[in-house]
Symmetry: C2
Subunit: 95 residues, 2 copies
């Protein structure tokens, strides 16, 4: 596992573009990139982690409240990651 570096860059660029323009196309990009993440066995909490990274790089003065809130969200997603891994295993067993 582990995020492909180029995907991290693409995510940050799409995010930046969406924040600046609220462009529907960037949202479509988000959908496409998340499908690619799933294919590459990237877990949901890794997306949240990627999001935190991108956000702090784009806004270095991001308030500590927001940063802390994202850490909490990350923790919440870990259980989903475990459930998702279980799903991957089930699917592999069936194929």
């Amino acid at each position: 596992m582990g995020t492909v570096k180029s995907d991290a860059v693409t995510y940050k660029n799409l995010l930046k573009h969406f924040i600046e323009t609220q462009d529907e196309k960037s949202l479509y990009g988000a959908e496409q990139i998340s499908k690619s993440f799933i294919k590459n066995n990237i877990l949901p909490e890794e997306i949240v982690n990627l999001h935190i990274q991108a956000l702090t790089e784009l806004y270095p003065s991001l308030s500590s409240n927001v940063q802390n809130s994202m850490e909490f969200l990350l923790e919440t997603m870990i259980s989903y990651g475990l459930a998702h891994q279980e799903y991957q295993t089930l699917r592999e067993e069936q194929s």
Copy 2:
């Protein structure tokens, strides 16, 4: 589907407590509540939605950049929700 209202309140309270104290106990609470969400078929994007709601209630003057960024994250999580639903179906078929 649909978040149980009391879970939404619990999430907000745990989040608030964590932001204010960075207390490990709140992180443990996050883990517990997410297990309860999974049991109740709450999808990952619904957690992100819940997080956005809680954050805007706690911080009404949250910057539009952060709000937009969260909308982008929400979109990214939708594909995970679909994958997660597929997993639930597989698991039901096996039990």
